[in-house]
């Protein structure tokens, strides 16, 4: 109990917990779950965007997108490493993803249908991710906090690039404008659901906030995101697909319509439109790559043996 008290005191004082420090099991487990889920989201998130690299409409856009997806692979890597400092192995985490035990962000279970979706993902999805993640730069677990600093920096860059792509398109042909509006129509609701269930229905929030694994509630973050994003939609000359959306002078915030949580939970259960595609692609990549990983290990073992001799 002394250990626990000391731990809670350090966390309450906004000090970092480091890998070698004592920590409660529940804290460790919660962090492994959250960090690995975040890592999986980066890796699975490469797929909807990867779908457009080969069809990017200009060489410049192709390099921007390829660099973005490369960054995401990098984020996945830091995050897996951060989770590894808590004693989780990469293989275990990936098995948990492939068996469906571990989750990843529901948003990646929607398809990318036109080039505008790539802009919309950068702007809305990375945008929502940043809102979620900025507070995590000061989260209590050191390696996670440091990973988030780098992740947030790169994601702000992606967000600007995504929005920039949509600005160009909304100044373009009628077809391009229609693509932008359609992308907003499809990504808006899933993006604002990325903040998770409403506060009155979010079981782990209180403890996570106490442990500084979260720092703001789901609804607070969601409101912040909506307030920041609605003017950007209007700047593009586009509409938010929410008939109930309106500025509330009194609250100083936008009011917004009811979210379709049935949809959200269906996607969490694995019934998103592209859920099967995503899992099949990840499993296939992993299974098809088994011989490569084995070969690299075998070669490395042989090399070490030689070096030792």
């Amino acid at each position: 109990q002394e250990l626990i008290d000391a731990f809670e005191a350090r966390v309450a004082a906004d000090a970092f917990i480091e890998p070698k420090d004592w920590m409660p099991d529940a804290y460790r487990r919660t962090l492994i779950r959250q960090i690995s889920q975040h890592a999986h989201s980066e890796i699975v998130g490469m797929l909807p965007e990867g779908n457009w690299i080969t069809r990017a409409p200009s060489l410049k856009r192709k390099t921007i997108l390829l660099a973005k997806v490369q960054d995401e692979a990098g984020h996945g890597l830091y995050l897996y490493s951060a989770a590894e400092t808590l004693g989780a192995s990469r293989e275990e985490m990936i098995d948990a993803l492939h068996s469906g035990k571990a989750k990843y962000s529901t948003i990646f279970n929607y398809p990318t249908l036109t080039w505008a979706d790539i802009g919309a993902i950068g702007w809305l999805v990375d945008g929502a991710a940043i809102m979620n993640q900025v507070p995590l730069q000061r989260t209590s677990y050191g390696p996670y906090a440091r990973a988030m600093v780098r992740v947030c920096k790169e994601e702000s860059f992606h967000q600007r690039q995504g929005y920039d792509a949509l600005i160009v398109m909304s100044n373009g042909t009628d077809e391009q404008k229609a693509m932008v509006q359609d992308a907003i129509d499809r990504w808006w609701w899933p993006a604002i659901m990325m903040f998770g269930p409403p506060d009155d229905n979010s079981p782990n929030s209180a403890q996570s906030i106490r442990w500084r694994i979260k720092r703001e509630t789901n609804d607070e973050l969601r409101q912040k995101f909506i307030d920041a994003t609605v003017p950007q939609v209007h700047l593009l000359g586009m509409k938010v697909p929410d008939p109930d959306l309106k500025w509330n002078e009194e609250r100083g915030h936008y009011d917004y319509g009811a979210l379709d949580w049935d949809e959200f939970y269906a996607v969490v259960r694995g019934e998103g439109p592209t859920a099967k595609e995503r899992m099949e692609a990840r499993r296939k990549a992993w299974d098809d790559g088994a011989w490569v990983r084995e070969a690299a290990d075998a070669h490395e073992a042989r090399r070490r043996l030689k070096a030792a001799a």
Partner: protein
Amino acid sequence: MENALFSYALRLGDDSLVLGQRLSEWCGHAPAVEVDLSLANIGLDLIGQAQLFLGYAGEVEGKGRSDDRLAFHRDVMAWTNCLMVEQPNGDFARTMARQFLFSTWQKALFDGLAASKDARLAEIAAKAVKEVTYHAELAGDWVIRLGDGTEESRRRMIDGLDWHWRFVEELFQADAVVETLVAEGVAVDPAGLRPGFDARVAAVLAEAGLPEMQLPRGVVGGRKGHHSEHLGHILAVMQHIPRTYPDAVW
């Protein structure tokens, strides 16, 4: 030889772009996230080179064609990349065999080209040579790792080299375009690159414990637009959006 410089810059750009496009197909599907990173990184370098070479080709041609115009609005017979770069990714061993052979050649080429009398080509090559040196090393390491890994990886690497070896001859062929520019000190004489290439390949294969490559008849034709069946499919995908919206700016 009219427009030899245009043709030459175009070839260099086409090589880089087609291989960059191929590598980007791997995105999200590689054997490990570290490998995904490497492949994206190489692909990105290559597409960056393509922008510069194609941009320069367009300037030399003087008909107002931009890098994008050349990339997205030429049909298959107007492409002049070598056949090796358009080969399908296959498994990871085939991808790495292709990368090793191509980057080893490209490094030797760019080393020479950095001394071209054409300032722009020299500049582009000098900038790219660092990238390409890294590609050749990374791919060489994988050839060694897979050749000296497991039975399966060795078998697959032999198959990968075997698939691509018939396209090596084309890399060292000279035609009127090359000869004209070699005489002017602009292009690199490809024949002069062969001994270094052979030595490097032999050294890596030896370290990997792989057999020496047999020389089959070379398959050629890419430089004059006679490709394998694969390029048409690459272009169908790559060009779909610009062809569908010819007036749009992105």
